[in-house]
């Protein structure tokens, strides 16, 4: 095999996929914004993403907060600075772990479901049926999911932030001997609005990524049940990788401010 040809083929394949996803996203947003709108579909997706992800995201957040408190105690007790724990917990949660972990959990829960649902609709010709009924699948199926992802993940992250801080609080107060009022005061001492806002911006981007990958992979799935399974896997894997990549890039942007 000619190594140049192999490299070239891989490069073309990657560019085609990236271009395809970008075009799909733009097309979905532009057509969706132009309307007609399907408020019923948007609402349904918002409930699916926002409300039904609460238990998963909440559990993830509380354990993360608890672990954060324990681990940072182990570290900071060594140089006599356990007072830093509330600050570390709240900053880690709001800036980083809240959005990333919520994003990853939602990718597994919602992104997979979207890919499976749209993939099944594709292979059973329901997407073709939409077109014959004068309904644009990008407006009816894709746009409501993109919007719902973008709007609901920040709300989930806000809840995750609070629950995560509560997890840290519980461990610090009941296990590490912090005073409850002291802990809460210290939590807010160094917290700035920007910490929370940067996390929420991240969450909106991650929500968009999850919905986009779920829709893209589902919409373009082919070949029956096996194809839908493969699309579901691709949706979760690609969303997770993109979330971690975007997380670094967004942190870089916020860091330089």
């Amino acid at each position: 095999m000619n190594p140049l040809a192999v490299t070239g083929r891989a490069t073309i394949a990657v560019s085609r996929t990236v271009g395809g996803i970008a075009f799909f996203a733009l097309d979905g947003m532009i057509r969706g914004l132009r309307g007609p709108w399907y408020p019923r579909q948007i609402l349904r997706q918002m409930i699916e993403i926002g409300y039904y992800s609460l238990p998963v995201v909440g559990l993830t957040a509380i354990f993360t907060g608890m672990v954060l408190a324990l681990q940072s105690y182990t570290g900071f007790a060594r140089f006599e600075a356990p007072d830093a724990i509330p600050t570390i917990v709240v900053l880690s949660m709001t800036r980083e772990l809240g959005p990333v972990l919520a994003g990853l959990m939602v990718a597994g829960r919602v992104g997979a479901a979207m890919a499976a649902e749209l993939g099944t609709m594709r292979v059973t010709e329901q997407i073709d049926a939409l077109l014959t009924l004068a309904t644009d699948p990008l407006r009816y199926l894709v746009f409501p999911r993109l919007i719902a992802g973008m709007l609901m993940l920040p709300l989930l992250v806000l809840v995750a932030d609070v629950i995560g801080v509560m997890g840290g609080f519980l461990v610090s107060v009941y296990k590490l001997g912090f005073g409850p009022i002291e802990y809460i005061n210290r939590t807010f001492d160094f917290l700035e609005a920007q910490d929370v806002i940067s996390g929420l911006v991240k969450a909106a981007v991650f929500g968009f990524i999850v919905a986009l990958m779920g829709c893209y992979q589902g919409y373009h799935s082919r070949g029956g049940a096996q194809g839908v399974g493969a699309a579901t896997t691709r949706a979760v894997v690609s969303a997770s990788i993109l979330i971690l990549t975007a997380d670094y890039m967004l942190t870089e942007i916020f860091f330089s401010r």
Binding site: V123, T124, D128, L131, T132, A134, D136, P137, R222, G223
Partner: protein, 273 residues
């Protein structure tokens, strides 16, 4: 005898999937108000033909006009307008499984935003009555229905907007002979009641004899014979003879597999109207 105007005119239609040339310069005229049935073996590209006419699959070359309006290469807006003339019954029914029966039936009406939801529900009940279903199915979900009932609901959905043109993709596949006859009868009646132009594809000869005015046979990507239903038994065409009598021996080469059908089921269509 005055001939009806041509509703759908197809000239030189070509469509390939990779190296697999499914349609190879197909010509076909569908006269207005007539029911044309396209017959042909599995994997000969019958579904591809319907999807090309609807613009669900982009044709590689050729021309398809509906009422004189070109489909091949048309903009999404034009395609959207042309598609509003159509109703299609899909092979696997393709009902929306997240919506109850009445919303499936009224989907096209709701999409056109002519009715509110309460009115649409009323209309769905009327339309369901035409396919022999009653109020008890209105709030069921497609997964709760038998195959025959799903086909009926899908038929109701296809005729709900009273389209000028109806497409039927294998209307009787997967049904027992009695239910198949019921569906054929419903197809026949729906077309007559609406005065619609119909194009069906099937390999079920009982279905052909019940619903066709004209028959066209698709083989190796082109229409090799076309004529009135009455002429089918004396077509003098060995391919047609072999097909309608279901003989393994004859000029038709039996393919080892059906790549065309596979390609169609999985091939994403162009985005939207």
């Amino acid at each position: 005898m005055n001939r009806p105007p041509v509703k759908i005119r197809i000239r030189g239609l070509r469509k390939s999937f990779g190296d697999n040339r499914v349609l190879r310069g197909l010509d076909l005229d569908v006269p207005a108000g007539r029911s044309v049935v396209v017959i042909g073996g599995s994997g000969t590209g019958k579904s591809v033909l319907l999807k090309c006419i609807l613009g669900l699959l982009p044709a590689d070359a050729g021309s398809i006009t509906v009422d004189g309006e070109e489909v091949v290469g048309a903009s999404n807006a034009t395609l959207d307008r042309i598609r509003r003339k159509f109703g299609m019954l899909f092979q696997g029914a393709a009902l929306f499984d997240s919506l109850p029966v009445w919303e499936n039936v009224a989907f096209g009406l709701l999409a056109r935003r002519q009715l509110d939801r309460a009115e649409a529900r009323e209309r769905a009940l009327e339309i369901l009555a035409r396919v022999g279903l009653g109020a008890e199915v209105l709030d069921l979900f497609p997964a709760e229905l038998s195959g025959g009932m799903q086909k009926r609901v899908a038929l109701a959905r296809a005729i709900a907007t009273e389209p000028e043109i109806l497409f039927f993709d294998e209307p009787t596949t997967g049904l027992d002979p009695i239910m198949a006859d019921v569906i054929n009868e419903l197809v026949r009646r729906s077309v007559e009641k609406l005065g619609a132009t119909a194009v069906s594809i099937t390999h079920d000869m009982a279905s052909v004899r019940k619903i066709a005015d004209r028959v066209a046979m698709l083989y190796e990507g082109v229409i090799i014979w076309e004529g009135a239903l009455a002429e089918i038994d004396r077509s003098g065409n060995p391919y047609v003879d072999q097909f309608i009598h279901g003989r393994a021996e004859g000029p038709i080469r039996v393919l080892q597999m059906a790549p065309a059908d596979r390609a169609v089921r999985g091939e994403p269509s162009r985005h939207g109207p």
